[in-house]
């Protein structure tokens, strides 16, 4: 876990000047918070805070300056230039932005870039071997025609690789269920199941 730079953090707090209520929202913010946020739109707008960030992506460090609100997805695409991860909804409803953070599949669009500093991020660009040899899942997707337009494919493959590692690829029904967080509008689903099933065997062998 990264130790957050205290000055950076406090920089935001110091700018706040308004003092009224003391309602803090636990976790995803409560209704109290929502109500007050609506009612109490600050007269002094909070400033957008550009901050220096460092992300570990596919084994490399990337330093850049970004707005604190930047999602991992937007940081990958617009700051680091890794455009393989796609934006399909920006609200956790399609799975096109699926990447691995410390080996777990997560959604880049609902992850703040700042929150994954110090963690290992893996994207579709980091899946093949250094010499360009494709990952068995990538090969299987080609062999089974498991995509059409290809837009959701990065997310599908990242999800599929994690699915096998999670041990959720034991049956075709399992694959269907655990791949259901990745929408494919072209509807290559049966081919995706076939691809995952094939790659599973190869991944388990190696």
């Amino acid at each position: 876990m990264t130790k957050q730079d205290d000055d950076t953090i406090r920089g935001g707090l110091k700018r706040r000047s308004f003092l009224q209520f003391g309602a803090i929202a636990p976790f995803g913010a409560t209704a109290l918070l929502a109500a007050r946020a609506q009612a109490q739109t600050p007269t002094v707008p909070a400033a957008a805070a550009d901050m220096p960030l460092v992300l570990r992506v596919n084994g490399q460090s990337h330093s850049f300056v970004a707005d604190v609100r930047t999602t991992l997805l937007d940081a990958l695409r617009d700051k680091i230039g890794l455009t393989g991860s796609k934006k399909g909804c920006d609200h956790g409803q399609c799975g096109a932005c699926t990447v691995h953070v410390d080996g777990r599949r997560v959604l880049g669009c609902l992850t703040l870039a700042i929150s994954v500093q110090g963690k290992e991020v893996t994207t579709i660009e980091g899946l093949a071997a250094q010499d360009g040899t494709l990952h068995p899942m990538q090969t299987a997707f080609i062999e089974h025609d498991a995509f059409q337009c290809g837009y959701c494919t990065s997310g599908q493959i990242m999800s599929a690789v994690a699915l096998v590692q999670e041990g959720h690829a034991e049956s075709d029904d399992d694959i269907r269920e655990y791949m259901s967080g990745n929408l494919c509008r072209c509807a290559a689903y049966p081919n995706i199941v076939a691809a995952v099933s094939q790659a599973k065997t190869q991944m388990q062998r190696t």
Binding site: I9, F27, A31, L33, R36, P42, R69, T111, I114
Partner: protein, 341 residues
Amino acid sequence: MRPFSYQQSTDPSQAVQAGMAGDAASAGTTAYLAGGTSLLDLMKLDVLRPQNLIDINPLHATHGEITVSATGLRLGALARMADIADNADVLRDYPVVAQSLQLAASAQLRNMASIGGNLLQRTRCSYYRDTSYAACNKRIPGSGCAAMDGVNRIHAVLGVTDKCIASYPGDFAQAMIALDGQVELLGPNGKRSIPFAQLHLQAAVSPEVETTLRPGELIIALTIPAGPHTARSGYIKVRDRQSYAFAIASAAVALDIGADGIVRDARIGLGGIHYAPYRATAAEAVLRGRALDDASATEAATAALQGAVTHGHNDYKPELARRTLIRALIHVRDMPVAGAN
């Protein structure tokens, strides 16, 4: 999404302190960030506008435990939905907990979302989520309710008022309420523990206030007491597609059935139909001391939906919820349970 200050916290007390400090500085608009799957979603929509985020994900190291013991199930608030759903002890002893989580959202979201945050997810009401609609008492107290005469197919039929008919969208909460879950909280004045049934306000009286959480309070852990009913339990979720969809009706059921076939105890939570997590105590009462068969299941289900109020598109919900509960009761009655009679 409005700008915010951001800090991570590795210690719950520090998180609460930081939260209070942030609140003091920004008119009470500090939020704890865990999985972010609800919070960032709603911030992007400008529905939520916290000025300070306290990122509590580092607490996972100390508050991410999943422990099954003789006294019950204990879940650190930062435990991820996926890890609980896959936990072998939970799967064996608390199947309704595992199933309610496994059937929720997607694998990616379950990997991200904390169990504490899961309980606090927000309604899917379109008029709440879209700030371009003027009338939403939940967003803007006193502004009205656009859903009442609008598109309300997914909306609640119980716990509703003339102020709000939003439905609570969660799954796991129905297992929590059915199994008498407790919520451990840490606030500026120390710890307290409350029944989960008291976490959410049960009727849409002040829709802008959804919980009884006090300023600054942080969910630390959840506990579910052990009991003879937890192993024979299950979750049936009815939705418009097979996966990755919210429940339009669901039932969390746990049963203790004697060797004579008589129900000694029944625990029932119903989802998709109520303003808040909902314990169907009337249905439980119908079943206690009786054999569980089609007749008693039907009677219980009817009791559970007493007083339902519908608004047009959701006219079907009482009947669907009734059938969902009947299906769940029979399913759980007939499920194989290791070591059970």
